[in-house]
């Protein structure tokens, strides 16, 4: 689903120099409560595939048992970390919020990003739902601007929250047709 959104130029630009900005509070809203589960299942699938490959390998090649054990330990460790630890970590980091002028989101786990984009420059609002997202009733929203480096990704939202968000963004932004570059 893709909605084309026009842009408005910020009407107010009375650059009264206020006190310098000391920082930014984090955006308010967490993703869906089902998000960690969805992330865990998503990465578990890959690790299972890898484990299956290793079982096949063990079946056909029984030399060097120490190598099998080493690889097995690495796989189990990786799987535990990415299925149990990473989703919860991501859930603690991921936040999003729509303000009157801007969209702000925080993502990542090990490497963390905060990204903010002005709503007046929003070009499109995309909703994306993969098979797993459907299974868990989730949706991902991408807010794009004219810069390929400035798209704000808000992932793993409840479907109704995502729909509301898209409607809200379209409402705020849909006046005029500046080319937003």
């Amino acid at each position: 689903m893709r909605r084309r959104v026009g842009g408005i130029l910020d009407g107010v630009d009375n650059r009264t120099p206020g006190p310098p900005v000391a920082g930014m509070v984090d955006p308010a809203h967490p993703p869906s409560r089902r998000a960690p589960l969805r992330w865990a299942v998503g990465s578990a699938a890959w690790w299972l595939l890898l484990a299956a490959g290793q079982l096949v390998w063990v079946e056909f090649d029984k030399r060097m048992p120490w190598l099998h054990i080493l690889v097995g330990v690495v796989t189990v460790l990786g799987a535990v970390i990415s299925v149990a630890v990473v989703p919860l970590w991501r859930y603690r980091v991921h936040r999003w919020e729509i303000g009157p002028q801007a969209v702000y989101a925080r993502t990542g786990w090990l490497v963390q990003e905060r990204r903010i984009a002005p709503i007046s420059r929003v070009q499109t609002v995309d909703t994306h739902r993969g098979p797993l997202d459907r299974l868990f009733g989730l949706a991902n929203v991408t807010v794009t601007t004219a810069s390929s480096a400035g798209a704000v990704h808000i992932v793993a939202l409840d479907v109704d929250v995502a729909d509301h968000l898209v409607a809200q963004l379209t409402d705020i932004a849909a006046i005029g047709a500046e080319d937003a570059t």
Partner: protein, 501 residues
């Protein structure tokens, strides 16, 4: 400017002289084919094949001219420019006129001999959808028509109806003119080496190596090599390659940029250069979002710099954004000041990123050498003096010293400067760059932290724009200043509900 008024604008053809150019280019492109045909002709004793291929190629050229046409709608706001091409498969390429951001013309040698030029139009949008799957290219029109067409095409973008009217007549101000002294920066690039590599590749591919091997030149070369020994031969070959690459690079630079003129006419920036292949670009100044002063290490060592435009609708990297090739840094700064209109933005002092950012530069540069050094020391202590070859120690010292210099250089480069109108970012040693971005063009901010950056209390700030290379990172800004920079540049960050005052 005069445009045909009726609502249905007639389709116009390209210059009929292209019937001469296309076949020749076609022949060059189909050279392997042609050689095949000639060989086939001479082996079978029947020249029919050669003639048939020639006729076919010429026929394609004529047909292409006949089937290609273009038109420009009169209304600059809602009108379109359209290009109709295709012999068997008809294709119509349409661009809205108000999306045109830059117009460039390009004339290769053959085009110039015939008084023709290729006109290329680029828009802000990346190629999207079926109607813009190709480049909008008029190949070719009469060179006398180019200024008029360019004025018409650029008149549609933004507002400057007055600029368009002024273009054909006004002289404009010359911002920079090529000087012979610029040639001294040419050998410092790798373009000569690349040319040699490409030429070697072509020679090797074409199978000319076989006969060459038995030629007298190569035989005498081999004799000389035997007399010199391996090291001597390698040195001689290296010297020859170096010399050839320097000569080629200088020659290439001269041919590409000799006679370069950068001039500004009202709201349009004109760049023209090329001795053999003449290239002309016209940029809409209202799309200029800043510029990047780039200083590769060697060029910087000789007091040079190059200038790239940061512009929407123009690809940020590579040739299309070049405003000035390597030239004295004073020239690039003068041009940039002229374009930006603010001396401090271009040459003013920057705010450094502090102790922690510096420490990160040092640990990155010296971490590996120190690790290796201690490993070598431990090995010497444990296994005796003979384990580590003696020459390794001076080499290690040299590498470490070099890394230290690199770190010091990177530390001294890193900095930024921000006010309500301009964001300046400088970084790098090998490829030092000073990006000057108009804050009005910044349409997104990213603050990124790796675990190590979180521990050091610094963050990477990325300004997103629709212009240039789109992503302009500023590394290792102190955590407590990072949002202040963004807020200073963008009022919509400062006024957002998340800002802490």
């Amino acid at each position: 400017m005069t445009l045909p008024a009726p609502p249905e604008i007639a389709w116009q053809r390209l210059s009929p002289r292209m019937m001469l150019v296309h076949p020749v280019h076609e022949l060059l492109r189909e050279l392997p084919w042609l050689i095949g045909a000639v060989i086939l002709g001479s082996t079978t004793g029947n020249q029919f094949w050669t003639v048939a291929v020639l006729v076919f190629t010429a026929g394609v050229g004529v047909a292409r001219w006949y089937t290609t046409s273009y038109r420009i709608d009169a209304d600059p706001e809602s009108g379109q420019v359209q290009l109709r091409t295709g012999l068997l498969q008809r294709k119509v390429l349409s661009l809205p006129r108000n999306r045109i951001r830059s117009v460039q013309s390009d004339a290769r040698l053959l085009h110039r001999l015939l008084g023709l030029a290729v006109l290329r139009v680029s828009t802000g949008q990346e190629a999207k959808g079926e109607n813009s799957s190709g480049v909008f290219e008029l190949n070719a029109v009469r060179v006398e028509q180019v200024p008029r067409l360019r004025a018409i095409l650029l008149a549609g973008s933004a507002q400057p109806a007055d600029a368009a009217a002024a273009v054909p007549a006004a002289e404009g101000t010359v911002l920079a003119r090529w000087q012979p002294s610029w040639l001294r920066y040419a050998p410092l690039s790798v373009s000569g080496l690349l040319t040699i590599a490409a030429a070697a590749g072509v020679v090797y591919e074409s199978g000319a190596v076989g006969p060459l091997r038995h030629s007298r030149l190569v035989e005498s070369g081999l004799d000389a090599a035997q007399r010199l020994g391996v090291a001597g031969t390698a040195a001689v070959i290296a010297a020859l390659v170096l010399l050839a690459s320097v000569v080629l690079a200088v020659l290439r630079s001269l041919l590409t940029f000799g006679n370069l003129v950068l001039l500004r006419q009202a709201d349009v920036l004109h760049l023209r250069h090329g001795l053999l292949r003449l290239r002309e670009r016209a940029y809409d100044m209202s799309r200029l979002r800043g510029a990047t002063l780039r200083q590769p290490l060697l060029v910087r060592a000789f007091g040079g710099a190059r200038l790239d435009a940061v512009m929407t609708g123009v690809h940020g990297a590579g040739e299309s954004s070049v405003l000035l090739p390597p030239c004295p840094v004073a020239t690039t700064e003068a041009v940039l000041i002229e374009l930006i209109g603010d001396r401090d933005v271009v040459t003013g002092p920057l705010r450094g990123h502090g102790r922690r950012a510096a420490a990160r530069r040092w640990t990155r540069a010296l971490g590996l050498p120190l690790l290796m050094g201690s490993a070598m020391a431990v090995a010497t202590v444990v296994d005796g003096i003979s384990v580590v070859p003696v020459w390794l120690w001076p080499a290690w010292v040299a590498v470490t010293a070099w890394c230290a210099l690199l770190a010091a250089d990177r530390v001294s480069a890193l900095g930024h400067r921000v006010d309500g109108r301009w964001l300046v970012m400088r970084a790098g040693s090998f490829e030092r760059r000073r990006d000057c971005l108009a804050t009005a063009g910044i349409i997104g901010w990213t603050v990124r932290q790796s675990p190590l950056q979180r521990r050091a209390g610094v963050a990477t700030l990325v300004a997103a724009t629709a212009a240039g290379i789109k992503r302009y990172p500023l590394i290792d800004v102190p955590e407590n200043e990072v949002w202040a920079v963004a807020a200073e540049a963008s009022p919509w960050v400062a006024d957002s509900i998340w800002a802490i005052r």
